[in-house]
Amino acid sequence: MSRNLPREALTSGERRSSGPVPGPRWVWPRTVLLLALLLSAIVFGTGLGSVTIAPGEVLGALWRGLASQFSGAELVSNDVIVWQIRLPRVMMGVLVGASLSVCGGAFQGVFRNPLADPYLLGVASGSALGATLAIVLDWPRALIPVSALVLALLAVAATLSLAREGRRFPPTRLILAGVVVGSVLSAATTALILRGEDRARQVLAYTLGDLGFSGWRDVLTVLPYAALGCGALLLLARALDTLQLGDLTARSLGVPVERLRLIVVVAASVATAGAVAYVGVIGFVGLIVPHMVRLAFGASHRILLPLSALLGGALLVYADLLARTSPLSQVGIVTTLLGGPFFLWLLRREKEI
């Protein structure tokens, strides 16, 4: 992966004049392009599904759904499908896709490692263990995400405490500790699955990631984690840019490197854990989307992180649409199965240019 920084990331020439996303003039058309892609994903995701509903009726359903929030009127048949099943599912896709992509981009930046993804520090294996515990012990379904969230955060805490050297968190030690914690927790999960064989499929479905049964309540529960975590990461974008010059240079430019690393790790883990707790471990999005944005739009984190959010949200909604209307059946399968080849194609094209 190239780590060449666009010059404008480090010069302060145009920064004051161009609104919330600083940088060169071409950022806006591309932002608009990705916004349009996200909007189209929301439109198609809400309009299409395994039940065929006419576009006019979808619009009517959205209107009646909105109105029912204020009037308390009860929705019927297709309105229920559009307003209570499809739209929250789409919104969950946007939230999760955006969160994973922003966190992936931030992790790749803070570890200066193109292979970093949001699950680097054990969030995925922690949440999988939490969910598996809840499933195998037959706890009420509402407790599954809670258990997943708690164990995901505990896993990150374990990784951090293993990697700590005094007040420092060296990247290599963090990555190694993450691998170890992840492996141990995965082994524990496997042992649990083998003891609860009749529930193995349920656990497997969780570890592949699935947006089914996402309702408004789930969306509103995930929203604060995503907003807090990703918000913090977006605010740290400039510091992440500086960090690309190496720890020493960043320090001499006044970036508190160690503290930055810790804050990024904690913020990204909170956002990732919130998302994963509700929809399971959706692979690949957090790894690939930031690279796609880098290839197409440049590597400055102030551009990379917000655009990754837009692209990630759009891609996950499209992937889920494909999942629920085809035998591929789960969004996690779609992202990995189609994401891989597409990304390889993108890389090859990049070489030819």
Binding site: E74, I81, I85, F213, D218, R324, T325
Partner: protein, 286 residues
């Protein structure tokens, strides 16, 4: 997957006694030869354990898998692990002359290498429950018992069917086998039982035997009865509160015993059908 039985001596025994050595083609398409009547059997499939006991070969069992729980006698036998974590060494230590396994899992190679006779007998469809019972009967020299059991099962199933066949209203039903959600298609053995119990399955045959279902499809189908999800869980799902079954209190988890026997392609199929029919048509069983 039809398992074809070829008797190495082309004399179909009149008295129903199996002649050994016996060569069978099992459910993994392996040719296996039994030298003599098996006396020490390990069954790694709950439905096979039940069938062996029901045809009078219970005393031949020396070990079972972790999930075999019926009849009472098998619960006292040593447990040999599950489908994915079988205790190969313990199985070998029991010195079995026959091990019955599922088509799935990786147990066959290891046991065959240890020189143990392994046969995969894995009923999956409704009719296979009967045909595999007969296969098991021949394997262990209990063909008479097997035939008797099959006749009995068919008779008991017919008893329930007579009642449900002419039911005036056949409710539409959604059956959930796990909350991912997976359901059952009409051609699976559970689907066959469901229609014999006088219900109309909302899942079309085109979706397959154990399809993963899109939640919006279930809401659209609006079944009159939901089995496998309790009322509270059903009402909590996004958009499900609007469904007829949820509103009329017709969403329920399966009773524990029925849950077990309904998903087990073995000799208790008639009981599963009777209990299912009672749930769907309580009015017929007064």
């Amino acid at each position: 997957m039809k398992s074809i039985l070829t008797l190495s001596l082309a004399l179909a025994s009149v008295a129903g006694a199996t002649t050994y050595p016996l060569t069978v083609t099992d459910d993994l398409n392996r040719k296996v030869t039994l030298k003599a009547e098996p006396q020490r059997i390990v069954s790694m499939l709950p439905s096979d354990s039940e069938t062996l006991c029901a045809i009078g070969a219970c005393d031949k069992l020396v070990g079972v898998d972790d999930y075999s729980d019926y009849p009472q006698k098998v619960t006292t036998l040593p447990k040999m692990g599950g489908l994915y974590d079988p205790k190969i060494e313990s199985i070998v230590a029991l010195k079995p002359d026959l091990v019955l396994v599922s088509k799935y899992g990786k147990i066959v190679e290891a046991l065959a290498q240890a020189g143990i006779t392994v046969v995969a007998v894995n009923p999956e469809t409704y009719e296979e429950v009967f045909s595999k019972t007969l296969v098991l009967g021949r394997l262990v020299n209990r063909e008479q018992g097997a035939k008797f059991l099959i006749t009995n099962m068919r008779r008991n199933i017919a008893r329930t069917e007579i009642l449900t066949k002419n039911a005036v209203k056949k409710p539409t039903v959604y059956v959930e086998v796990d909350p991912t959600p997976y359901s059952i298609g009409p051609n699976s053995f559970m689907g066959v039982l469901l229609s014999k119990a006088g219900a109309r399955n909302i899942i079309p045959a085109s979706m397959g035997d154990f399809p993963k279902v899109d939640p919006e499809f279930i809401v659209k189908a609006n079944p009159q009865l939901i089995l496998g999800v309790d009322a509270k869980a059903a009402a909590a799902r996004p958009g499900w509160g609007s469904m007829t079954a949820v509103k009329t209190g017709k969403a329920m988890a399966l009773p524990k015993e029925l849950d077990t026997i309904f998903s087990r392609p073995g000799p208790r199929m008639p009981q599963a059908l009777a209990q299912l029919a009672k749930l769907i048509h309580p009015e017929l069983f007064k």
